[in-house]
Amino acid sequence: MLSVRHLRVEFPTRHGTLVALDDVSFDIAPGEVLGVVGESGAGKSMTGNAVIRLLEPPGHIAAGEVLLSGKRIDDLPEEHFVPLRGRHIGMIFQDPLTSLNPLFSVGDQLVETIRAHLPMSEKQAREEALRLLREVGIPAPETRLDSYPHQFSGGMRQRVVIALALAARPEFIIADEPTTALDVSVQAQILALLKRLCADHGTAVMLVTHDMGVIAETADRVAVMYAGRLIEIGPVDEVIRNPQHPYTKGLMASIPGIAKRLERLYQIEGSMPRLAAIPEGCAFNPRCPHAQQRCRAERPDLMPAGGSQAACWLHDPVDPLPLRQDLAGEEVSHVR
C-alpha cells in the first residue's frame, strides 16, 4: 500500500543542515496497522508529515521516495498532490479541538469534505454525513449534525475527526497521537473504533504514538525510531516481548508494568541527542552498554534479528559483535 524508501528530511539552518529523518524505509500493507514509536524528537511525527507533505519550511525531503499503491507521490507537483490529501490519505491529529473549525457546525464540515472528494449533491452528502456519524458511534446523530465542535466532549470530537478522515474512504490513514489528549476510558473506545473501522474498510494505518501500551494493543507491526532513524521494525509481539536493539530493550524495561512490580525501573542513562549533535556511527552508541569501536565509526543498517529487523552491529550476519557478557545477565533480568 504505502512504501517509504530511504527517506531523508533536512532542515537547513544558519548553523548548518539538521537531518531530521535519515534513511527511513518501511512498507505498510492494506488493512495493516503500523505503529511508529519513539520519544519526543525521534522523528515519528516528522515521518507522517513527510509522507503527507506537511513539513514546516524550511524542512524538505532531501532524498528517498514515497510510493502509494505503487505510484510515486513525493515528486508530484503541489497541485497534483493536494487532491490526494483526504481522498487517498486521511489524517487524524492529536488535538481534536484544533483540527475542527470552531465556526462551522460539524455537519457543514462533514458535508464540505464529502463534496470536495465525492460527486454528491448537498442532500446526499448530508445523508452520508449522518451515516458516518452513526458509524463512529455518535448517539442521536440527527440532533448532533448541526452542533458546533465546542458542544462535543473530547472523545466525541475525536470521533468526529475520525469521521472526517474516513469521509472520502481513503486507502491510508495517518493517525498522529490520536488518543494522547484523551482519558484512558475514552482512549480505549477510540482505539477500538479506529481498529474496527480500518479492518472493515481494509484501510492501512500509520499510528504514531509515544505510548507503547497503545501500540501493543492496536498495531500489527511496530517501527521504533531514535534520533531520526528507524532502529527496529517487526511484528508487535516480537518487538515487545523479544526486543533486539539495545535501545528498544531499555525502553521496554523502563516502562512500569501493571502486572509485575519492580523495586527499581531500568533506566537508560542520558538522553536522546539533539539533531545538531547526532554522534558518528550508531546514534545510540554513547548510551549503549554494548557499544564498541565499530559502533562509534560505522552506522548499522537494518539487519534481520530474531523475528524482526534491528539496526545494530550485534546482529551483523557476517561478523556479529559479541554481547558484553558481564552485562548480559543483568539486562535480561530487567526485561520482562
Partner: protein
C-alpha cells in the same frame, strides 16, 4: 461518620499519621456575571471540584490519587498545600490544624510551609526563565533561612544539584538550557532545599518520555529511602501509580470511589469504576488482547448525576444508586469502597 472510622482504623493499625484530611471540599463559582444572570434568568452555578474527600497519610508512606481529568485530584493537592482555601472540611498536618493555611500570610505560614513542598507537572512553566538555576533552588533557602550567608547557600545549592544527578556548575545556567527531565530534577532539588518531610507531586512525570520518566521515578524512590519522605503522588497513569504507591485512592467526580493498598487494588478492585479504569489501561502485557470497552465519558461536573456519580456508566446501578450518595465503607481486606452494590454484597 465513615471518615472518622477510616482515620481511626488506619491510626490503630499503622504508624504515626502525618497528614489527615477530613471531609475536604472545594467549590468554585462558575456562574455568569450578575447582570447576565439577571437578564437571562440563570441560576448560580457551582462546580464542586472536590466534595467530601477524607484520607490520611502516614509518615514515610506514598499515597496516590488517580482518576481521569476533572476528577479533582489536582484540586486536592492544591488544597493540601494551601494554594486554594477549603470550602468545607479539616486538614491536620502532624497534629497541627492547617485548615486555614491558604488565608495565612507568608511569615505566619512559614513554620508549616517549610515542612512540605510541591512538585508540579510542567517543568517548563514551573521554573522562572529569567532566573539562574542557582537562584531558583536558593529561593526557598533565602526565604525560610534568612540567617544563612550566601557562601553557605551556594554550597547547599551545589550539594542539592549533585544529589539529583546534575552538576554543581549547572547553578549558573538558565532553565532553557536543560531538557525536560533535567528541569524536573531542578524542581525536585528546589523542593528538597529545606529538607521537607512531605512532598506533594502533581503528575511529576506526565510531560516526560518513558526513559526519562524511569530516571525521575527512580530518583524519587531513592530520595524517599534516604530522607524518609512522605509522598502524596498524583497521576493519571495507573502503571506509574502502581510502581510508586503504598496505597491508592481512586477518585471520580470530586469523591473517592475506593482506597486500597496498591497491590490489592490491582489484584482485586471492588468499585466498578476501579475495575473499569484498570481494564481500560493499555499495557504491554496485553498484546493482541481485546479490551473491555466501557461506554460513556466523565459527566460534566457542574451538573453531576444524582446519587452515586458513576451510576449512568455503571452496569450494576439500581434505584438506590440513582438516589443516594454512597459513603466510603471499610472492608475487612483493608480497602474502603464507596459503592452500594459492594456494601449490599451484590458485587464481589
Amino acid at each position: 461518620m465513615c471518615a472518622d472510622t477510616a482515620v481511626k482504623k488506619s491510626m490503630a493499625t499503622q504508624g504515626e499519621v502525618l497528614l489527615e484530611a477530613q471531609d475536604l471540599a472545594r467549590h468554585f463559582d462558575v456562574s455568569k456575571p450578575w447582570l447576565n444572570r439577571v437578564i437571562e434568568r440563570r441560576e448560580k452555578l457551582t462546580l464542586k471540584a472536590v466534595d467530601g474527600v477524607s484520607f490520611s497519610i502516614r509518615r514515610g508512606e506514598t499515597l496516590s490519587l488517580v482518576g481521569e481529568s476533572g476528577c479533582g485530584k489536582s484540586t486536592v493537592a492544591r488544597l493540601v498545600v494551601g494554594l486554594y482555601g477549603l470550602t468545607r472540611g479539616k486538614l491536620a498536618f502532624d497534629g497541627e490544624d492547617i485548615s486555614n493555611l491558604a488565608g495565612r500570610t507568608g511569615r505566619q505560614a512559614a513554620s508549616v510551609r517549610k515542612r512540605f513542598q510541591m512538585i508540579f507537572q510542567d517543568p517548563y512553566a514551573s521554573l522562572n526563565p529569567l532566573w539562574r538555576v542557582g537562584t531558583i533552588i536558593g529561593e526557598p533557602l533565602r526565604f525560610f533561612r534568612p540567617e544563612m550567608n550566601s557562601a553557605d547557600r551556594r554550597r547547599r545549592v551545589g550539594e542539592l544539584l549533585e544529589h539529583v544527578g546534575l552538576s554543581a556548575m549547572d547553578a549558573n545556567r538558565y532553565p532553557h538550557e536543560f531538557s525536560g527531565g533535567q528541569r524536573q530534577r531542578i524542581s525536585i532539588a528546589r523542593a528538597l532545599a529545606n529538607e521537607p518531610e512531605f512532598m506533594i507531586c502533581d503528575e511529576p512525570t506526565s510531560a516526560l518520555d518513558v526513559s526519562v520518566q524511569a530516571q525521575i521515578l527512580n530518583l524519587m524512590r531513592d530520595l524517599q529511602d534516604e530522607y524518609g519522605l512522605t509522598y502524596l503522588f498524583i497521576s493519571h497513569d495507573m502503571a506509574v501509580v502502581k510502581h510508586m504507591s503504598d496505597r491508592i485512592a481512586v477518585m471520580y467526580l470530586g469523591r473517592i470511589a475506593e482506597i486500597a493498598p496498591a497491590d490489592q487494588l490491582f489484584e482485586n478492585p471492588h468499585h466498578p469504576y476501579s475495575k473499569m479504569l484498570l481494564a481500560a489501561v493499555p499495557s504491554l502485557e496485553g498484546v493482541g488482547k481485546e479490551r473491555t470497552v466501557i461506554q460513556g465519558e466523565v459527566p460534566n461536573p457542574v451538573h453531576p448525576p444524582t446519587g452515586c456519580a458513576f451510576h449512568p456508566r455503571c452496569p450494576h446501578a439500581n434505584e438506590r444508586c440513582k438516589a443516594e450518595v454512597p459513603r466510603l465503607i471499610a472492608r475487612s481486606d483493608g480497602s474502603e469502597v464507596a459503592c452500594h452494590g459492594v456494601e449490599e454484597g451484590r458485587l464481589p
